[in-house]
């Protein structure tokens, strides 16, 4: 690692721990914990809600807050999975397999202690691997030209479309719709208006902020209302927890080999756009059960069934930042919203950020690191109050989230059209969720469309002028091959998910 990178890392570390900047990751982590501990709400919705608040902030504070949102959300979703058999996020569903049976056996504290320790240590593994990869990411980002960026956009979109959701056709169609919607407004090359249908509001194209707020925050709330749950956990009374936190923490060191292997699985899978942490957790769980001598306890409250997916889930956060920061390709929903927030503050991931704004990159990484530790430590301390909080009536919480989402969309540019756009996308997002249409390819296509279209035109022009030969560039050919592979990988992972769902149904009998 050269001196510039080390200097940037140390400077960023100093900034993260300086006053008043330290408040941002702490507050961000607390908010992310609160949101992710509430089934039906999620950190992507929180990030979308926070974008309007940060319009006037300096980029450093934005990085600190959003780094904390990415890192602070993962562990708390496991708490609801362990305590109530309801995962905070899809990725926490695997933890239910053994976590909830442990709660039923009076071992909730042991399971939560294990989840907290493996989450904190797993994220540390992922973050340090990410830091080690930064020199490579910088070299890659500088070496890439328009043909490679074009193929990266195509590969990122195809991979996400193929691997997220249950149907390849639906995923690809959602990505196509996202690309098409992103073309509303002025053509970047000819300045001709496209698809405005006579509406002045559409001249500048669809803005990402109201779209994100609608698709994630509002759709999540409509889903929460439609579910009819009286309280966030679905239970009206708080139950006492049994077991020992210390025993749970010790179990991570007792199975340290499994922890390291699961963290590596999480980091590698996190770095591949679209595969997602749910798959990372499941593969780690599958590895844990296959590599165990005694498999009979898996699905009935085996601590290794909590350790492996939790380590993988948190290690993947570091991995997911590799394509996001190096290439501007988000690995999932959270990083897509993060990308949107960064672009609003004039920060473009990729070459520009890794060379000109390296300190900010490290600020994001340290904030992620810090928030993962805060969330695990506070999570352990606050398990009981959190369990009580989950019995709060949803009807009291909902108006605040609705009001904040619409307010956020409206305040961005002061246009009532943005609020209407957020509500429309909220309804569309809810319907997509309900009828099993993946929202992630649509959102990521919206975010990647400018990169796709600009580099497509640049590549064609350069090819025309004889400055590049598209078909003789090795990375272009590699990405083309990966695109084809991802199209075949999608149906395979679909079968894997079906297997997982069957197994979950047999083990828990609860809701997925």
């Amino acid at each position: 690692m050269d001196g510039t990178i080390l200097d940037a890392a140390l400077q960023a570390l100093g900034l993260v721990f300086s006053w008043p900047y330290i408040l941002y990751p702490v507050a961000g982590t607390l908010l992310a914990m609160l949101f992710s501990a509430s089934p039906g709400l999620n950190s992507s919705g929180l990030m979308a809600l926070a974008i309007p608040l940060t319009y006037a902030w300096d980029p450093l504070a934005v990085m600190l807050l959003f780094g904390a949102f990415v890192g602070g959300a993962t562990f708390m979703g496991s708490v609801t999975a362990i305590l109530f058999n309801i995962p905070g996020k899809a990725q926490n569903a695997v933890t239910m397999l053994d976590g909830y049976p442990m709660t039923q056996q009076g071992q909730a504290r042991t399971a939560i202690g294990c989840a907290a320790a493996s989450s904190a240590l797993g994220s540390t593994f992922g973050v340090f691997l990410l830091i080690a990869l930064i020199p490579l990411m910088r070299a890659a980002a500088v070496a890439l030209g328009p043909p490679e960026y074009l193929m990266l956009a195509v590969w990122g979109l195809t991979t996400l479309a193929a691997l997220v959701g249950s149907s390849l056709v639906k995923g690809l169609a959602a990505a196509g719709l996202g690309l098409s919607l992103a073309m509303i407004g002025y053509d970047p090359r000819t300045a001709e208006l496209r698809f405005t249908f006579g509406l002045d509001y559409l001249h500048d194209g669809l803005n990402l902020v109201p779209v994100f707020l609608g698709l994630f925050a509002l759709a999540g709330v409509i889903d929460l209302i439609a579910s009819g749950r009286e309280t966030l956990s679905g239970q009206s009374r708080h139950q006492d927890l049994g077991g020992s936190v210390a025993e749970g923490v010790r179990s991570v060191f007792r199975h340290f080999g499994l922890f390291l292997r699961s963290s590596l699985i999480g980091t590698v899978i996190g770095a591949i756009p679209g595969i997602g942490s749910a798959v990372a957790g499941f593969i780690a769980y599958g590895h844990a059960s296959q590599s165990a001598r005694d498999r009979s306890r898996f699905g009935q409250g085996d601590i290794r069934g909590v350790l492996a997916p939790e380590a993988a889930n948190d290690a993947k956060d570091g991995g997911a930042l590799v394509p996001t920061l190096a290439l501007g390709i988000p690995g999932g929903t959270g990083t897509a919203v993060l990308l949107g927030a960064l672009s609003l503050h004039g920060l473009t991931p990729g070459r520009e950020m890794l060379t000109g704004n390296l300190v900010l990159v490290f600020v994001l990484i340290w904030s992620l690191f810090l928030s993962n530790w805060i969330t695990s430590l506070l999570g352990l301390a606050l398990v009981n109050p959190m369990a009580r909080l989950s019995t709060i009536r949803t009807a009291r919480l909902i108006p605040f989230i609705l009001a904040l989402a619409v307010f956020g969309a409206l305040q961005y540019r002061g246009l009532i059209g943005d609020a209407v756009c957020a509500v429309l996308f909220g309804v569309v997002g809810y319907l997509m969720k309900r009828f099993d249409w993946p929202r992630v390819p649509l959102v990521i296509a919206l975010a990647l469309a400018p990169m796709f279209e600009t580099n497509l035109h640049l590549t064609l022009r350069l090819q025309e002028l004889g400055r590049v030969d598209f078909w003789s560039r090795p990375l272009v050919l590699l990405l083309l091959a990966l695109t084809v592979v991802s199209l075949f990988l999608g149906p395979f992972l679909g079968r894997l998910r079906a297997f997982r769902a069957g197994r979950r149904g047999r083990a828990g009998g609860g809701r997925p």
């Binding site: 309007p52 608040l53 319009y55 006037a56 149907s167 056709v169 639906k170 690809l172 169609a173 196509g176 719709l177 690309l179 098409s180 073309m183 053509d187 090359r189 000819t190 001709e192 496209r194 698809f195 249908f197 509002l218 709330v221 409509i222 889903d223 209302i225 439609a226 579910s227 009819g228 009536r393 009807a395 009291r396 909902i398 108006p399 605040f400 609705l402 009001a403 904040l404 619409v406 307010f407 409206l410 305040q411 002061g414 009532i416 609020a419 209407v420 509500v423 909220g426 309804v427 809810y430 319907l431 997509m432 309900r434 009828f435 099993d436 249409w437 279209e453 497509l456």
Partner: protein
């Protein structure tokens, strides 16, 4: 397996149909554009439309009955409340609108008594005004009927 009666369109297919119509309308609109502006959207939309039609046919040919999906009425009510939020925000502005919405929701939807509903609504409006207008110094959306400070 439950079978769907012949001629009935599955509920989820209405969404697929809406997406298909949207893609079709956008593709039709590209024919009014100049050639340099039209070819990229035409290429993307043709593939998208093909995929959507494929999906729609697959759903219509499927014999499986609609899954029992509770909560449709509650979802419609949520959308109606969202509509109300939009209207009051447009009329009363970015701080007073959400506050009035919160008051109405808490009283009529959540069944809270008037005093706590009023207090919580007022606190929300005040918090929005202070946090998003006074502190960052950004003017709030004024609303069609009222003009609030900020």
């Amino acid at each position: 397996m439950n079978r769907r009666p012949r001629g009935n369109i599955p509920t989820g297919s209405w969404l697929t149909l809406a997406f298909t119509l949207l893609a079709g309308a956008m593709l039709a609109a590209t024919f009014n554009l100049s050639r340099p502006s039209a070819w990229v959207p035409q290429a993307v939309l043709s593939v998208t439309l093909g995929l959507l039609v494929w999906q729609l046919i697959a759903e219509l040919r499927s014999q499986a009955a609609d899954a029992n999906r509770p909560g449709a009425r509650r979802a419609r009510s949520a959308v109606a409340w969202l509509g109300l939020l939009l209207v009051v925000t447009w009329l009363l502005g970015a701080a007073a609108g959400p506050a009035v919405f919160c008051l109405c929701w808490l009283h009529w939807h959540a069944g809270e008594r008037w005093p706590p509903s009023l207090a919580i609504g007022a606190v929300l409006g005040l918090a929005l005004w202070l946090l998003f207008s006074v502190l960052p110094g950004v003017p709030l959306y004024p609303g069609a009927m009222l003009r609030l400070p900020g």
